[in-house]
Symmetry: C2
Subunit: 203 residues, 2 copies
């Protein structure tokens, strides 16, 4: 294996370990040594790849949220209808979190209370997601599919509803199958925007 490849895989190992340990113990309560041990490397190795503990956490946040965002955009790409696209986005977030508990914990729990610097980064991420939804709503308004409204605001409310539902699942484990709640939530949210009489033609 070349040096660059080795280095890259090292870096990835570190991020993976950081994900596990940070989400298990929380940012503040996690010593760098734990990450070094969990990644089967060393403290010096961590500091070779990342300038500080904070930078490591930030990189982890960045990497994770970008991956999620890509997944969501991919899911949306297939749908021509704006409302369908919105639904697809929401569903993608849902299923991703359901599959990756740690990701959910990282983005929704740990990042929130880890300090001022992280809050800003986290909020930016939330806004990126909200923007995707808002754009769908905008298009739907333009197309006359739904009545005009403050789409950014509605998008954030949606997103908040999703987050809190996932959060509840994270903390209590209920419902055991997170994805089963998706249709419930989708209907609740969509009706709020399109009105009951036009509700999704679906089960």
């Amino acid at each position: 294996m070349s040096v660059q490849e080795r280095s890259k895989s090292r870096r990835q190992r570190l991020l993976d370990a950081a994900m596990t340990v940070f989400t298990d113990q929380g940012y503040a309560a996690t010593p760098i040594d734990d990450i070094a041990r969990a990644s089967d490397t060393s403290k010096g190795g961590v500091y070779f790849h990342f300038p500080s503990k904070q930078a490591l956490f930030l990189a982890l946040l960045e990497e994770s949220s970008s991956a999620l965002l890509e997944k969501v955009e991919a899911a949306m790409a297939g749908e021509p209808d704006p409302l369908m696209r919105g639904e697809a986005a929401l569903r993608a977030v849902f299923t991703s979190f359901a599959e990756h508990r740690l990701l959910a914990r990282l983005l929704l729990v740990e990042a929130a209370g880890a300090g001022r610097d992280f809050n800003r980064a986290l909020m930016e991420m939330h806004e990126r997601f909200a923007t995707l939804i808002a754009e769908c709503l905008d298009e739907a308004v333009t197309a006359g599919r739904i009545a005009p409204l403050d789409t950014r605001f509605a998008a954030r409310a949606w997103y908040g509803a999703v987050n809190h539902t996932v959060l509840h699942w994270l903390q209590t484990g209920e419902p055991s199958d997170l994805e089963s709640t998706f249709p419930l939530l989708r209907d609740l949210l969509l009706v709020g925007v399109v009105g009951r009489e036009k509700t999704w033609a679906r089960s």
Copy 2:
């Protein structure tokens, strides 16, 4: 002032200072000495009233959320109609947060990422609020005002939407007048439950 009175006011001074300092710097980043200084007392004094830093934070959480809950319940007490009562509850949460930024920051930001032990306490608090809403919805269903649905689930989604809206306001300061978004949010949420054709008779 009697000894007991003095002691009680001392304790309150400590909680007030803790509120200020914790919400400013975050739980982990706040040394007890800072709270001692901010309350114009001493480290020993803090540990006389609270067995540990964690216990102090927990007491603060408990006290704050209980106060908020009482306010909400008081607001609900006046309304005979279940849907009105739900609206009143939501509005009370909204206005309380708008008036007390620090309270919002404590309950929605700091408590979230301060560690496992706190998450449980926080979740319990969220559930208490969600229960209030769910009970309104249940009554409304029984009265035939709205179609049957998983009311606990809907209540949590509502609550999440509110939280995220407040959170966004906290972090960005937009909109400058938080309470102005209440009608917007209320309509969005209520329509999701009652359907558009029955929407609140109001502006």
